[in-house]
């Protein structure tokens, strides 16, 4: 049993005109304790909806989400069950996920203060510990959010989640609002926390390159479905799904070599009207006849990989594809 299990999750939104949009159309994913799983995809692929559903912020239309073996409830008006408080979420934009009118110390102390009656000051040592743990001076507890930089705020957001003594943190694009030099600081902090505290992390990101440095396993999402999951190193060296390959090829390299990235033709379709068969087929450079009509399932391959593509149809034939150099597991 994994720490967090998503099974065939569907999340459906209603547009203003009444159309139902399946933002997530059947996604399954596991995250274990101490493991960082990257969930990568482009705008509109449903990765953010999946993140919110995973912690119970939005309801699932079908499928199940279990945390520590118990189902995750949708957040209602009442207080969240204690058993679920060890499942936390960090948002993308630390300018919105922190209350501008409260000191950061008070907000980090929230997890301690809720449901307890002790004086706020009695939590001060623990708050200061948490601040140090995320690499901030303890004196910062008395500051207001606007006195902090973006990177410091994101550390506060992480400290807030850590205060709940989480077993699992879902992070929704935690790095994308930060400057490059600060991004690496926070990325390294996540790796360190997962290792030292044995926290499981589901890291949502549009940036495959940074996920590669942080995640143990990576899942690639396209238009509401997961098309490939694999140990991160294998995913990079030998991507099986043509979309994964396209994502990797489109990343520009900061090496001064002047290598132009490869563009993927076409646009991401409207999730309300997904293409028939394989959802990627209109943009796929290796499309075949059956891709137009038959939906490929996410099937297990060698080396802990899964892929949903007709190119890799034969069971266990993970290395058959000519997408890239074969790598021994």
């Amino acid at each position: 049993m994994s720490l967090l299990e998503l099974r065939d999750v569907e999340v459906v939104y209603q547009r203003r005109d009444g159309t139902l949009v399946p933002a997530v159309a059947g996604a399954s994913l596991d995250v274990n304790a101490g493991e960082i799983v990257g969930l990568v995809g482009e705008t509109g692929c449903g990765k953010s909806s999946l993140a919110k559903a995973a912690v119970g912020l939005v309801p699932v239309a079908s499928g199940s989400i279990t945390f520590e073996g118990r189902p995750v409830h949708v957040l209602g008006r009442r207080a969240r069950p204690v058993s679920e408080r060890r499942l936390q979420l960090v948002f993308q934009n630390p300018y919105e996920s922190i209350n501008p009118r409260r000191t950061v110390g008070a907000q980090v102390a929230d997890a301690f203060a809720i449901g307890r009656t002790q004086a706020r000051s009695s939590w001060r040592p623990r708050v200061e510990d948490l601040l140090r743990q995320v690499g901030l001076p303890a004196t910062m507890a008395r500051r207001f959010p606007h006195q902090l930089s973006g990177g410091q705020r994101q550390r506060i957001a992480i400290a807030r989640a850590l205060a709940a003594d989480p077993a699992m943190i879902v992070l929704d694009e935690p790095l994308s609002a930060l400057d490059a030099s600060v991004q690496a600081q926070v990325a390294n902090l996540l790796v360190e926390l997962a290792r030292n505290l044995h926290v499981g992390m589901l890291l949502i990101s549009h940036d495959l390159a940074i996920v590669r440095h942080v995640a143990h396993r990576t899942a690639v999402m396209y238009l509401g479905v997961i098309v490939e999951t694999a140990p991160t190193a294998d995913l990079w060296t030998a991507p099986m799904h043509p979309y994964t390959q396209a994502l990797i090829d489109s990343i520009p390299h900061a090496d001064g070599a002047g290598h132009l990235p490869v563009a993927l033709p076409g646009e991401i379709p409207d999730p309300a009207r997904p293409p028939s068969g394989c959802r990627f087929h209109p943009r796929c450079p290796r499309v075949m006849d059956r891709c137009l009509s038959e939906v490929p399932e996410l099937v297990a391959k060698d080396g802990g990989r899964r892929v949903a593509c007709w190119l890799h149809e034969a069971p266990g034939g993970a290395r058959r594809a000519a997408d890239g150099p074969s790598v021994a597991p």
Partner: protein, 326 residues
Amino acid sequence: MTTLLSVRDLRVWLDTARGPLPIVDGVSFDISAGQVFGLAGESGSGKTITALALLGLLPAGARTGGSAILDGRDLMTMRTAQRRRTRGREVAMVFQDPMSSLHPMLTIERQLTEHLRYQLGMSRKEADERAVELLTEVRIPNPEAALRGHPHQFSGGMRQRIQIAIALACEPRLLVADEPTTALDVTVQAGILRLLHRLCQEKDLAVMLITHDLGVLSALADTVTVMYAGRVVESGPTAQVMGRSRHPYTRGLVDSLPHPEAADRALVPIAGEPAGPESRPAGCAFHPRCRYMEPPCATAVPPLIRIDDGREMACPVDPLVASLAR
């Protein structure tokens, strides 16, 4: 390869409650026709303000100094009317968010042909034909139909292409692109980068590419200037500045990025936060974050020194710079 725009000692002060604040502090660079000039920097580096100053689009209350010579005329001292004409015909700008620079209520046709008719005095028919040409140029499928559409009917990538088509309408010689791909997905970004590359090659267009993304810069730029807290720290050919960066800041930026070939190598962040104009440290602005800091760095602003391999850098601690200074 001729120099099209030559910027010397550009300075910009913005008006704040506490008096004028220097945002850009003595920036110099050259842009050549048919080349992509990259201007890199994090938030607060002054890279966008530099571009706005060249185009005369600074907010009210801003003061400028220095010169920017385009064809023997100084953009910084031009009169407003002349500058407006220059902005339309010789220098064009592409912004990060096409949704805010395109008019949401007007058709693409109207927005494209307005420039052609106002700036070049074309007839309606000529302008329409040219508009189709332009949309074909930026690879908009079915350009005749696209002309009748409104901005919201296009995806982010398509809107950015339309914005570029509008910028190209009067055949400018310099295209200033401020974070043109930052709001786009990587697979779409790659297409825009290829488009800019092709335009630059085919039309002998000079492109000033402003971005925080060193990957984008590396892919496209021929020369790169790296800014930190309003000053240039390193500049030169991309292969040198990005491939073999020497300045501790540039080096640190490159090391903090995910590396394509070495996945196992940990990300090496730069300690601390980027300095902004209101909190710029004395001396070398980077010194509080610098691993190689020596006492003089905290007091004297290091000058840009040209070293053998065609680059200029502002770091007195660097052995090559030090040997030249001796």
